[in-house]
């Protein structure tokens, strides 16, 4: 596949994903949250009782679908490969703090795009911080940053994470008493599309993301490193199609799928500085991980156990964020959350320095 074909493919995939994201909101997901890897991992952590924030507890089928969609596509294309061993604990820590940044902003990079497509201008500050964080990370990449090479691993090591997703699907459908589900009206966790629709949406997006290597971080990183726009085009296509769908849905249903402005946005706050810094932390951490949270899920589906560990870090971060009052809400940020973001930026900077300059010494 030459570069032109790759660009056409990723634009088509992005357009489809934007439509799916908007459709998920129509079918019941929170507004501007057709997809949000951070929010959905947070909801899943809550459903498992890793935190007890009653407003955000639900095993999100989209996450299950993303991993299994990637897994199925990788198997079909003979690209499934169990590999790992590249600084897994460091990746766990990076994943942890990426989640802290995302929950300061209230969304992962994917939701940031969907928030923009819903007219939420607070996400512009998030986008600025995200770009800034990626550019800081790129400086380290160019100076020698590396977490070390990966190694081939036994198949079971790569298949374990997809297998866990099957178990999660069983728990979702069986809904045993020890799983927590937000009660109706309790908050975003109670808003969701029907299981089958969410699962199929996740499967399709996971498969498309595996084929196209769609990555919210990679798009900006490749523009900075190579002036190469391919991955960024996927980003732009998602924004464009979700925006058009939101405008159509608003016109047809009379409901607010698109509301331009800063105030009163769904599952968002208006603290610009912390929207910026939260996504700076997320962008910086994701560059060091080699991809955004969506990409980590897709890579985990392909058999990359390092990415699976990064996802576990994201889940742990979500649990901490809600157990210790670090996560923002529609009413604003918290003091503890602001401290956690500053600590996160410092920790990620130390990880970047240690894994850059140590090698050159």
């Amino acid at each position: 596949m030459d570069l032109k074909k790759e660009k056409i493919t990723i634009v088509i995939a992005g357009l489809i994903i934007g439509v799916i994201a908007a459709a998920l909101v129509f079918f019941g997901n929170p507004v501007n949250m057709g997809f949000c890897i951070a929010c959905f991992l947070r909801d899943t952590a809550g459903a498992l009782g890793l935190h007890r924030a009653g407003a955000v507890q639900y095993i999100r089928p989209e996450i299950i679908g993303l991993v299994l969609g990637s897994f199925a596509m990788a198997l079909a294309k003979k690209e499934f490969s169990a590999r790992g061993g590249s600084a897994p604990l460091t990746r766990f820590v990076l994943g942890f703090f990426v989640m802290i940044g995302c929950l300061m902003f209230l969304g992962c990079p994917f939701r940031m795009i969907l928030r923009l497509a819903g007219g939420d201008l607070n996400a512009l500050l998030g986008l600025a911080g995200f770009v800034a964080g990626i550019l800081v990370g790129v400086v380290f990449l160019n100076r020698g940053y590396s977490l070390g090479r990966t190694f081939k691993q036994p198949v079971l090591e790569g298949a374990a994470f997809p297998a866990v997703q099957v178990a999660m699907l069983v728990l979702l459908v069986a809904a045993p008493a020890f799983i927590f589900f937000s009660e109706a009206g309790a908050g975003p966790g109670a808003l969701h599309a029907p299981i089958l629709i969410s699962l199929i949406a996740g499967l399709v997006v996971g498969a498309l993301a595996q084929r196209t290597r769609l990555c919210m971080v990679g798009g900006i990183r490749d523009m900075a490193l190579f002036r190469e726009s391919k991955l960024l085009l996927g980003f732009v296509a998602i924004f464009a199609s979700a925006l058009v769908c939101n405008l159509i849905l608003s016109a047809v249903t009379g409901q607010a799928y698109f509301t331009l402005g800063f105030e009163g946005q769904p599952v968002a706050h208006t603290d610009g500085l912390w929207n910026f810094l939260g996504m700076l932390l997320a962008g910086f951490g994701c560059v060091l991980l080699g991809g955004c949270p969506l990409r980590q899920l897709v890579l985990a589906g392909e058999g990359n156990s390092d990415s699976a560990v990064a996802v576990l870090g994201l889940i742990a971060g979500a649990a901490f964020a809600h157990n210790f009052g670090l996560a923002s809400s529609g009413t604003g940020t918290t003091f503890a959350g602001r401290v956690a973001v500053i600590i996160g930026i410092a920790v990620v900077a130390v990880i970047a320095c240690v894994n850059t300059f140590r090698k050159n010494a």
């Binding site: 990449l141 160019n142 590396s146 090479r149 990966t150 081939k152 990555c215 490193l225 190469e228």
Partner: protein, 81 residues
């Protein structure tokens, strides 16, 4: 001849680029083509008659392929990758 080398890190590609330039071999770094890998890292496309400039593949090299009219022909893959 044209070859593409993929790496375990972006900086590995930067170092390989410098190596090629020291040897007078035309080289450019770019994102890894999708047809070559599902990884989204950095690769180096370089010319010359020898796929192994410098006599030994650096430790950061994951694989090397020769670019042919029909696609890619494997030349080298690091042990355990």
């Amino acid at each position: 001849m044209s070859y593409i080398a993929t790496f375990y890190s972006h900086f590995g590609a930067i170092r390989f680029k410098k190596l090629c330039q020291q040897e007078g071999i035309p080289v450019k770094v770019m994102p890894v083509p999708r047809a070559l890998s599902s990884s989204c890292g950095t690769c180096a496309e370089y010319g010359g008659s020898d796929p192994c400039p410098g006599g030994e593949y650096p430790a950061e090299v994951e694989q090397v392929v020769e670019v042919t009219g029909e696609g890619y022909r494997p030349v080298y893959r690091a042990e355990g990758s």
